[in-house]
């Protein structure tokens, strides 16, 4: 076996061959699926808990506060303590609620973000499924989460929940367009929807540099639209604390609430990793074509570190949005999308197509 932190392909093949040599192929496949499922479950929990902690720390520093600092050194066990507290809380039964949908909703939200996470390339070879329509798959699956939010609002038998869910629906319907179109801009440049190929094409320069002006515009639009799509501030109308108590998850308690909470943070992670992969090269190190020495030095940094670094930076940007801007009103939200982002995006796609046609990109 050759374990190589720069390329996990041989490691994966070693596991695959090892399993196939001791059991029939069907069972080997089931075992592999189980292993990947457990790894993703652990990854999901760890990243989700860490992001909640990171958000609290980042917002504290932006407001000249200290943030959680009592549980463990620098408060790093704060979210674990919170999670244990949520696990032990009572699951309150809501009178006249639609029991089936009420219990189903958090699972739909969390499954949607799980499914989308499976298509993300973490490093070379560290990729659960490499679909040839990866981007399409992610767009399709990640917007399934809103079904869960709508169900949660509808089944709670609470007017605040319902208003929150309806707002979330209106928001997703409009901003999904911008997310799709801004990714389409890069697909025009890349000529493929497969994540592994998109990353491989950025070997001699990330798309944000290769596609220069239209790629930067597409990145900004994607950042704004995906912040809205994950229901984060300043677009958190669906759970606007000051207006709707907690929006669609008002009536949820205990572990069901924790599911919504985790899913929200994992959606943010997902969106940031899509942005990092499509615009900033994913796990691909920073390469400048022609500078061979510089490129070799950059190659020494493991791909996983590059991926995490880029994702963390974009997550930080989204946190900066949340803790800087006031919440939009619903009409301002729709104005921003339909009057500004969408026209800019459409013109931008034309611009990018023209650029690709004339070979004006790098």
């Amino acid at each position: 076996m050759t374990f190589n932190i720069y390329d996990f392909t041989s490691f994966n093949r070693w596991i695959d061959e090892g399993l196939n040599s001791i059991m029939p192929p069907t069972w080997a496949m089931i075992t592999e699926m189980a292993i990947i499922g457990i790894v993703f479950l652990l990854f999901y929990a760890v990243v989700g808990l860490f992001l909640v902690y990171a958000e609290r720390k980042v917002c504290a520093f932006m407001q000249n506060r200290v943030g959680p600092n009592r549980v463990g050194p620098y408060g790093i066990f704060q979210t674990i303590a919170d999670f244990i507290k949520l696990l032990m809380k009572e699951l309150v039964y809501i009178k006249d609620s639609d029991k089936l949908l009420f219990n189903l909703a958090p699972f739909i939200v969390i499954i949607a973000s799980f499914m989308a996470l499976s298509a993300v390339p973490f490093a070379k070879g560290l990729h659960a499924i490499d679909l040839d329509i990866g981007i399409l798959y992610v767009i399709a699956v990640s917007s399934l989460g809103v079904v869960g939010i709508l169900l949660a609002g509808w089944s709670s038998n609470n007017k605040y929940s319902l208003i929150g869910a309806m707002r979330s629906g209106a928001q997703i319907v409009s901003y999904e367009l911008s997310v799709g179109l801004s990714l389409l801009t890069i697909i025009v440049l890349a000529g493929t929807m497969q994540f592994s190929e998109i990353v491989e094409m950025q070997r001699n320069g990330w798309f944000i540099f290769k596609g220069h002006i239209p790629a930067i515009i597409a990145f900004i639009v994607f950042l704004v639209a995906s912040t809205a799509e994950t229901n984060r501030g300043p677009f958190d109308l669906a759970e606007a604390e000051s207006e709707l108590t907690a929006g669609f998850h008002t009536e949820y308690s205990g572990i069901k609430f924790a599911f919504f909470f985790l899913a929200e943070y994992m959606n943010m992670f997902l969106v940031a990793s899509i942005a990092a992969t499509v615009f900033w090269g994913g796990w691909m190190p920073f390469h400048v074509s022609g500078w061979a020495g510089f490129n070799t030095i950059m190659d020494y940094i493991p791909p996983f570190v590059w991926y995490i670094g880029k994702t963390a930076f974009i997550i930080w940007l989204m946190m900066l949005f949340k803790w800087t801007f006031p919440r939009l009103r619903i009409d301002q939200l729709l104005t921003l999308e339909w009057k500004y982002l969408l026209p800019i995006n459409l013109v931008n796609i034309l611009f990018m197509a023209f650029l690709v046609l004339m070979h004006w990109h790098f």
Partner: protein, 159 residues
């Protein structure tokens, strides 16, 4: 054509003001020295409260154990919670006339909301706010305090 330019100038101004906001929070993020949170139990020894902090109502005494309170009772009348009781006594002054001075200025800390009406309305500025804030006691009768120190007298010329 005018609205056309307005559309783009709106975008430009919007982005500009957003960037200004982001630069403010970003600057705070990268300058942890500006953190204003007091880590209270750890820095108890050298914790400095602000001058405007309203910890408790005190009567200001000078070095000779003298205060400025003449027992007029305006603070008692102004207190919305009835947390101040002024008990005056009549004594005979040096010139032989009866004179009203303070015996006890009783302050119920447990009822006080720190509104500051007593301090503001005192005609001779006898009251002020102290910066002590650790008021927890095991018996609520300990929250009733006498503000004029034992043996204190009024500063000459204030009455």
């Amino acid at each position: 054509m005018n609205s056309f330019f307005k559309y783009f100038s709106d975008i430009f101004h919007g982005v500009k003001s957003l960037l200004i906001g982001m630069s403010v929070t970003g600057r705070y993020f990268f300058s942890p020295g500006q953190i204003v949170t007091q880590q209270y139990p750890e820095n108890r020894k050298n914790l400095q409260m602000f001058e405007r902090f309203k910890g408790e109502v005190i009567m200001l005494h000078d070095g000779n154990n003298q205060h400025r309170c003449n027992g007029c009772g305006i603070c008692e009348n102004n207190c919305p919670n009835g947390s101040i009781e002024v008990i005056p006594v009549k004594v005979t002054g040096e010139d032989g006339k009866p004179k009203r001075i303070i015996d006890k200025h009783i302050y119920h800390l447990g009822m006080c909301t720190f509104c500051g009406l007593c301090v503001k309305n005192c005609p001779s500025n006898a009251l002020g706010f102290g910066q002590e804030f650790e008021h927890a006691v095991f018996d609520r009768s300990k929250l009733t305090k006498v503000l004029n120190q034992p043996g204190s007298s009024i500063i000459k010329g204030v009455e």
